[in-house]
C-alpha cells in the first residue's frame, strides 16, 4: 500500500512533512554525506542575519538529561554570504527551502524579507525567528515587549508575499496570545517551539557549563512541552504549524502529527543520528501502512481530547 505523505501548506506542496529545525542541519551540505537531503520534504536553514555574527564564546554546548543546552548565538556569515554562497547550492538541490531569518530591529527583519522575496524559485517560505534564547538584541529578552514582535512581523509582511511562519516560544510570554497577534499581522503559520532557556552548573568552577548563564534546552527533554503547544495552537487557530522540540523518533513524529502538526522539524536528533530524518520518515510510512492510513491527512489532527474519550467508550 502506498501511503500519501504529501503535505500541503497553502500553495506549497511538499512530498512529505519531514524537515530539519533551524540550525541543526549545518549551513549547507554538512550532512549530505550521511543523508540524501532530496528525500526531505523541505529544509529550514540556519538563521540568517543581515550582518555576519561571530556568536558566543566557548563552551557553547553541554549535555543535559535527554537533551542539551546550546549557547551558539546565531553564528552565521550574514545575508550577503548566504545569497552568494548558499542559495546556489540549494537552488541546485531543488528541495523546497524555508529560510530562517532574525533581525536586531524591525528594519532588519524587513530587509531580510525583501532580500528573499525575489528568490521564489528557491525560497518557498520564511521562518521568522522571534525567539532565539542566545542573543541580546532580537532574542527572547528583547522580544518580551510584544510590540517588538509585532513590529518585526509587520516589517516582514510589508516586504514579502512569501509564506511566513513566526517562530515563537513560551519564553516570549503567553504562546496563544502571541500566536493570535502575529496571525493578526498576517503570518500564515506558526513554528513551535524554540529552545527553552535552562541552566547547568559545573561543580568545580561553580559557574555555567556553557559560556552564558542560560543556554537553550533542546532534545527529547522538551518534547512534551512542544507537543502541548503545537496541540493548543493548532486547536485554537487551525493555521499551518511547523513542529519542533525533541522529535527523535517516528513515535514522536506521529504524536505531533496526531495533534495536528503540518511539518515536523527534526533538530537535536540530527546531531545524534545523522539519518534521524530518514529513519523518522520510514517509521511514519510503516505506521501508516500497518494502520491502513492511506493519506497522512487522515492521521493529521486526529487527536481525541481526554474529555471526549470517556469511560468505556470504544473507538
Amino acid at each position: 500500500m502506498k501511503v500519501d505523505l504529501t503535505t500541503r501548506i497553502k500553495d506549497l506542496v511538499l512530498k512529505n512533512p519531514v524537515t530539519v529545525a533551524s540550525g541543526t542541519f549545518g549551513t549547507k551540505d554538512e550532512y549530505a554525506g550521511y543523508v540524501d537531503p532530496r528525500k526531505l520534504g523541505a529544509i529550514i536553514t540556519k538563521t540568517i542575519t543581515v550582518k555576519p555574527r561571530a556568536g558566543n564564546p566557548m563552551p557553547r554546548i553541554c549535555e543535559t538529561s535527554a537533551g542539551m543546552l546550546n549557547a551558539i548565538g546565531l553564528q552565521n556569515k550574514g545575508l550577503e554570504d548566504f545569497i552568494e554562497h548558499k542559495i546556489p547550492y540549494f537552488k541546485k538541490l531543488g528541495v523546497p527551502l524555508i529560510v530562517s531569518i532574525a533581525g536586531e530591529s524591525a528594519e532588519e527583519f524587513g530587509k531580510l524579507a525583501k532580500a528573499f522575496d525575489g528568490m521564489k524559485d528557491v525560497v518557498r517560505a520564511l521562518e521568522v525567528n522571534l525567539s532565539c534564547p542566545n542573543v541580546e538584541t532580537g532574542g527572547v529578552n528583547f522580544m518580551k515587549k510584544q510590540e517588538r514582535i509585532l513590529d518585526a512581523v509587520k516589517a516582514v509582511r510589508d516586504q514579502t508575499g512569501l509564506l511566513l511562519f513566526a517562530k515563537i516560544s513560551p519564553e516570549l510570554g503567553d504562546v496563544l496570545e502571541i500566536a493570535g497577534k502575529v496571525i493578526g499581522q498576517g503570518v500564515e503559520g506558526i513554528s513551535l517551539i524554540n529552545t527553552l532557556r535552562g541552566m547547568a552548573v559545573d561543580l568545580r568552577t561553580r559557574s555555567s557549563r556553557v559560556a552564558k548563564d542560560f543556554g537553550g534546552l533542546s532534545g527529547p527533554a522538551i518534547k512534551p512541552v512542544a507537543l502541548r503547544y503545537v496541540y493548543q495552537v493548532k486547536k485554537e487557530f487551525r493555521v499551518p504549524v511547523i513542529a519542533s522540540g525533541g522529535i527523535a523518533s517516528a513515535q514522536d513524529a506521529l504524536e505531533f502529527l496526531i495533534v495536528g502538526a503540518d511539518l515536523l522539524a527534526i533538530g537535536t536528533a540530527n546531531f545524534v543520528e545523522p539519518q534521524a530524518t530518514l529513519h523518522i520518515l520510514k517509521g511514519i510510512e510503516e505506521f501508516c501502512r500497518k494502520e491502513k492510513i492511506r493519506s497522512l491527512n487522515d492521521l493529521r489532527g486526529s487527536y481525541r481530547p481526554a474529555a471526549e474519550k470517556g469511560e468505556g467508550c470504544n473507538r
Binding site: 554538512e30 561571530a54 557553547r60 549535555e63 546531531f271
Partner: protein, 256 residues
C-alpha cells in the same frame, strides 16, 4: 559529488582498563578503518536510547586492518557509562572525522608532545610515522601508559611527571625546552595534543624558538560533522570548527 560518510554498528572485542588512567576498547569495522589519519576521531553513540544522548568524540588510537582501538579516560558521565560496556556489546560509531596530523613534513624531525587524552593520537602518529621524540606528561607514574602499549612507537619516549615518580619532575614543557635549547630548533616540527594549558605552553615555547607545528585543539562538540557550530576555535582566518576544519590546526593559525 558528495563523499559517502560512515556510521557503523560495531561489536566490542574488548573494553578494559590498561592502567590507573586509561581504558582501551577495540572493535572491527571495514568502513571506519579506511584512510584513517592519526588525529582524526570517531563519534560514538554509547547507548541506543537517550542516556547519554549526544555522541562522544574519541580520537583513533590504533588501526590495524579492520581492527580499531580507542584509548580513553573516564572523565565524565559518558565515559563512565562506556567503561561498563562488555565484550560483544554494540556501539554506533561515525568516522573517520576531522582533519588529522600531517604525515609528511619534509626533512624536519618531529617532536610529539602529549598529555592526558592527547596521548592516544600521538602514540598512533608515532607508530605510523617516525619521530625524534615522544614526550609524555602526566601527574604520576601510575598514569603513564604501560610499556606494552608503547612497543611499536618509532620515537624516543621521554616522560615528565608532576610528582617526579618517573622521568623528569615537572611539566612536559621542561623536557621540550631542554631539547630545543641543546639542538638547532630549526630542524624540528612539533605535534601536540593534550590539555589546553599544556598545548598553550608548547605553542608559546615553539613561538619563542621559531618552530612550526600542529596542535589538536578541540572544544565540547555536539554533531562532530561541522553542523552545529558548537566547537569553534579562534584562528587567524576567523572562527573555525574544531570537528570539521580541525581538530588539528597549524600553530601559526591558532589565535591564543
Amino acid at each position: 559529488m558528495t563523499v559517502k560518510k560512515h556510521d557503523d554498528d560495531v561489536s566490542l572485542l574488548e573494553n578494559q582498563k590498561v592502567n590507573g588512567k586509561y581504558y582501551k576498547l577495540a572493535f572491527l569495522s571495514a568502513k571506519l578503518s579506511q584512510n584513517v589519519r592519526p588525529g582524526q576521531f570517531l563519534q560514538v553513540r554509547i547507548n541506543a536510547g537517550q542516556d547519554p544522548y549526544l555522541r562522544r568524540p574519541f580520537s583513533y588510537y590504533r588501526v590495524a586492518g579492520k581492527r580499531i582501538e580507542v584509548l580513553y579516560e573516564v572523565l565524565g558521565y559518558g565515559t563512565r557509562v562506556l567503561c561498563q560496556k562488555k565484550k560483544n556489546d554494540f556501539l554506533k560509531v561515525m568516522g573517520p572525522l576531522g582533519r588529522g596530523f600531517s604525515g609528511l613534513i619534509g626533512k624536519k624531525k618531529r617532536i610529539l608532545v602529549a598529555g592526558g587524552v592527547g596521548v592516544p593520537p600521538l602514540v598512533f602518529l608515532a607508530e605510523k610515522y617516525p619521530a625524534e621524540y615522544l614526550l609524555i606528561g602526566t601527574k604520576s607514574k601510575a598514569e603513564l601508559l604501560p610499556k606494552s602499549e608503547l612497543k611499536k612507537v618509532r620515537a624516543k619516549v621521554l616522560c615528565a611527571t608532576e610528582d617526579g615518580s618517573c622521568g623528569t619532575k615537572g611539566r612536559v614543557t621542561l623536557l621540550l625546552e631542554k631539547i630545543l635549547k641543546n639542538r638547532h630548533p630549526g630542524e624540528f616540527f612539533i605535534q601536540t595534543c593534550g590539555p589546553k594549558p599544556m598545548m598553550e605552553a608548547v605553542i608559546t615555547l615553539a613561538r619563542k624558538y621559531g618552530i612550526e607545528g600542529e596542535a589538536s585543539w578541540d572544544e565540547t562538540m555536539a554533531c562532530g560533522v561541522g553542523a552545529c557550530l558548537g566547537c569553534m576555535v579562534k584562528t587567524n582566518e576567523g572562527l573555525k570548527r574544531a570537528c570539521a576544519d580541525g581538530p588539528v590546526f597549524q600553530f601559526e593559525d591558532l589565535k591564543l
